[in-house]
């Protein structure tokens, strides 16, 4: 119950972590199944239809329901602490964001049980995703499930933006914010400006499929390429939503374990902003082959390649941070250091793809698959592992086993390289992406086998991480405030896990790496910016959960509103939108309750402020 009603950002972080981890597991199993199918030529492990469903759900699940929530978990756990805040700007909205994400994700995955998963690829290109070519409810689950989940992401992003704008501790100017907070800030801004585009795209596709509208239907005057524009105007910024937080994590971990401040802090900030800005200008590099014309292709090609400049600045700054540092290769740092070359390689293949004439050869081959897995898995997922090992003690008060962590790193890293390195060559040799099988003796056999073996190895790595979590959870909650001893930012100045109110007294920030600065001045604690006093806390509430349940019901109702159930009662319920209306009434009812009864919260008095950590 506690977990359903909580509005504490640290607990919401744990919820995001569990839910994201769960979906990551599902996406991982789907990946393994795909690789089993492609392990040998002419395999018939799964049917072509199921294969399409597997690749669609793998991509969709991983991006929207796996890695993004884990990113949100770290942001929720860390950002308020890094800026010296007691809470986020909108605790209620924060909880609402989590629950809508979860129910959207559940809806999407219900499709496996309710007559067919989406099968038009994670990009859902029209007309493939139209009712004509995709006759099950699969794509409806996609449009409506993602719509609901996306709502959660959007309000989560607004919450982070407002939190960082209004809740920073005294002295924490923008140019003193830790890099992870900076990347959270910019990522949230991208979310704010990119997600509404996909919201509209999904609405249009829903209308085409359920109401018979003609947006993407050529016969009715519609235009399928319009979908691609809308999708990628969202989709390209989305890849920066994924990678910027990883940049932030790396920028925290490397300085800590090199015992040096981040090289070129201001250029890092500037590069982050520039990447976000350029990220909105380059969407059509996914569409070179749709026939945009040479001028458009050239412009998008050049603007894409420009992104390599700020990205390169970041890479060099990390290298210079390590240069001459007293580097400790903890598990967290292994992942961070491993990130750098892998990500560089993904960037290089990106620039290759950005050359329009070359892309005509690479497009829709395994080369593209290799490219984006180098950036998403070799970049983001390594970054997430790094961040999880790094902040685990802060979140749970227990340090993960270093030995197992290192084993996780090596198995995962070797498995990753085996899986995806060879795919570059498969692509160059002409193996298409999204094909269910291939003929023998075309030089595809061995490399595909290698790729599948690598995938299993990555699976083993993930299992090791889970084992590590289980073992660690048995340990007592005894991590010190600053378990790495070289913590630089504010989160390391308070107990692990932090008490409900985070900071007993709001700290006074006197420079970049605020905690490190105090340590160098010989202090063990931050200087407080206020006297000890009563702390105001928001109250727990089940309303976000209820609102999300309502949206979930409405979504299901809408999806089946045109179906014939062969049963008068069910037909009556669904075909007259009664289910939709019930769902919306639940949601709006909860909203009205929220609006009529104010939540005055409660206070923690000074005499109760000594206990350590929330129990998790």
């Amino acid at each position: 119950m506690d977990w359903i009603t909580t509005v504490d950002h640290k607990k919401i972080a744990v919820l995001y972590l569990i839910a994201g981890g769960f979906f990551f597991g599902i996406g991982g199993i789907e990946a393994i199944l795909i690789r089993i199918q492609l392990m040998k030529p002419m395999n018939d492990f799964v049917s072509a239809q199921v294969f399409n469903e597997l690749i669609t759900m793998h991509g969709t699940t991983m991006i929207f329901l796996g890695v993004m929530p884990i990113i949100f978990a770290l942001m929720n756990a860390v950002v308020p602490l890094q800026i010296g805040a007691r809470d986020v700007a909108f605790p209620f909205v924060n909880a609402l964001g989590f629950w809508t994400f979860l129910f959207g994700g559940l809806l999407l995955n219900l499709s496996w049980l309710m007559g067919g998963a989406p099968d038009a690829g994670w990009t859902s290109y029209t007309p493939l995703s139209g009712s004509e070519y995709s006759g099950t409810h699969g794509v409806d689950f996609y449009t409506i499930g993602l719509q609901i989940a996306g709502l959660g992401t959007l309000i989560g992003g607004i919450n982070f933006l407002a939190t960082i704008i209004t809740m920073r501790a005294p002295g924490m100017s923008y140019m003193r914010m830790p890099m992870f907070t900076w990347t959270t800030f910019i990522t949230s801004a991208i979310i704010l400006f990119a997600f509404p585009a996909i919201t509209v795209g999904l609405v249009l596709l829903t209308f085409d499929r359920i109401l018979g509208a003609n947006f993407f239907d050529v016969a009715g005057g519609g235009n399928p390429v319009l979908w691609q524009h809308i999708f990628w105007i969202f989709g390209h910024p989305e890849v920066y939503i994924l990678i910027l937080p990883a940049f932030g994590i790396i920028s925290e971990v490397i300085p800590t374990f090199a015992r040096k401040r981040l090289f070129g802090y201001s250029s890092m900030v500037f590069a982050t902003i520039l990447i976000a800005f350029l990220g909105f200008m380059v969407w059509a590099h996914h569409m070179f082959t749709t026939g945009l014309g040479t001028v458009a292709n050239a412009l998008f090609s050049i603007s894409t390649m420009l992104i390599a400049v700020p990205t390169g600045i970041k890479i060099f700054n990390w290298l210079f941070t390590m240069w001459g540092g007293q580097i400790r290769f903890t598990a967290a740092n292994l992942f961070a250091v491993g990130f750098v070359p892998t990500f560089v390689m993904g960037g290089v293949t990106g620039v290759m793809l950005a050359s329009a004439p070359a892309d005509f050869q690479f497009h829709d081959t395994y080369f593209v698959v290799a490219h984006f897995h180098y950036v998403i898995v070799g970049g983001l997922v390594l970054g997430l592992f790094s961040g999880l090992h790094y902040w685990w003690p802060k979140m749970f008060g227990r340090v993960l086993s270093e030995t197992l962590g290192k084993w996780t790193f090596w198995t995962f890293m070797i498995g990753f390289q085996l899986t995806f390195f060879v795919q570059h060559f498969l692509g160059l040799m002409g193996m298409q992406r999204r094909i269910v099988t291939y003929l023998p003796n075309q030089d595809f056999d061995l490399l595909n086998l290698v790729s599948s073996v690598g995938a299993f190895l990555m699976g083993v790595g993930v299992i090791m991480f889970l084992v590590n979590i289980v073992i660690t959870t048995r340990k007592p909650v005894d991590a010190p405030n600053d378990p790495w001893e070289d913590g630089r930012t504010l989160e390391w100045s308070i107990p692990s896990p932090p008490p409900e109110y985070n900071f007993k007294q709001t700290p006074l920030v006197r420079g970049i790496d605020a905690y490190w600065k105090e340590k160098m001045a010989g202090h063990t604690e931050m200087t407080p910016a206020e006297p000890v006093g009563s702390i105001h806390m928001p109250s727990a509430t089940p309303l976000p959960f209820v609102m999300s349940v309502g949206i979930f019901i409405a979504g299901l109702g809408l999806m089946f509103s045109k179906d014939d159930f062969g049963n008068a009662f069910m037909n009556g319920l669904f075909n007259n939108y009664i289910v939709v209306i019930i769902g919306l009434l639940i949601t709006f009812g909860a909203m009205a309750l929220r609006s009529l009864y104010d939540d005055h919260g409660w206070h923690i008095e000074p005499e109760d402020q000594d206990e350590k950590g929330v129990r998790t």
Partner: protein, 208 residues
């Protein structure tokens, strides 16, 4: 021990009650951000409409369909309702709760008038001009863009309605003031969007 409370209540409201507390300031910032997202949302809908507005698929064209006097009347009503919501905020800054509620009430009534005209317009098109969601890409784009705006108006009416209720239940306080302020911002936003719709959909449809 009695504790210093977050809300400065000494009987009198501060000059700008919407910004008096951290919660209030958060609300304002958060709402500006939200409007940024809404701008992208409508931007995408406008782009879609512009891309598809010529695709009438042998169905009615914009020129055959639109009846400008009706739309002009709707526009006028909505613009006036923005003005009345400005009066509402002025009343709030003077601390006059009843005047505030009255102006908000007038805003809601005007909003309802606008919505009524829009529903009448859609009804006419569907019933007498055989112009429905499925007729053409143009029709789909038209109903989606204008309908989305209409849904925003409807939501705004419900929202401001609830806030009027709160004003009577709880009075004008530093808790209710940010809500009033933010809902007025929202109302201006949908008004601005309508100005674009009037230009891009109706005027351009008649002459362009």
């Amino acid at each position: 021990m009695t504790t210093p409370h977050a809300e400065p209540v000494n009987g009198k409201l501060p000059h700008e009650p919407e910004k008096a507390t951290l919660e209030g300031r958060n609300k304002l910032v958060g709402f500006w951000l939200f409007l940024g997202g809404e701008t992208v949302l409508f931007g995408t809908l406008f782009a879609t409409f512009l891309a598809l507005r010529g695709q009438t698929n042998d169905g009615p064209t914009a020129n055959e369909l639109f009846h400008l006097p009706l739309v002009a009347a709707a526009t006028f009503i909505l613009l006036v309702s923005s003005l009345t919501s400005v009066f509402a905020i002025q009343a709030m800054h003077k601390g006059k709760r009843n005047a505030l509620a009255l102006w908000l009430g007038i805003t809601v009534v005007l909003g309802l008038g606008f919505l009524g005209l829009e529903i009448y317009e859609f009804y006419e098109y569907v019933k007498h001009k055989e112009f429905g969601m499925t007729t053409s890409a143009f029709s789909s784009a038209f109903y989606t863009l204008v309908g989305f705006h209409g849904a925003h108006v409807a939501f705004g009416i419900m929202w401001i309605g609830l806030i009027i209720g709160q004003l009577f239940r709880k009075g004008l306080t530093v808790v209710t003031a940010p809500k009033v302020y933010v809902s007025a911002m929202y109302w201006h936003f949908i008004d601005v969007v309508w100005v674009f719709i009037f230009t891009v959909v109706y005027l351009l449809g008649k002459v362009g």
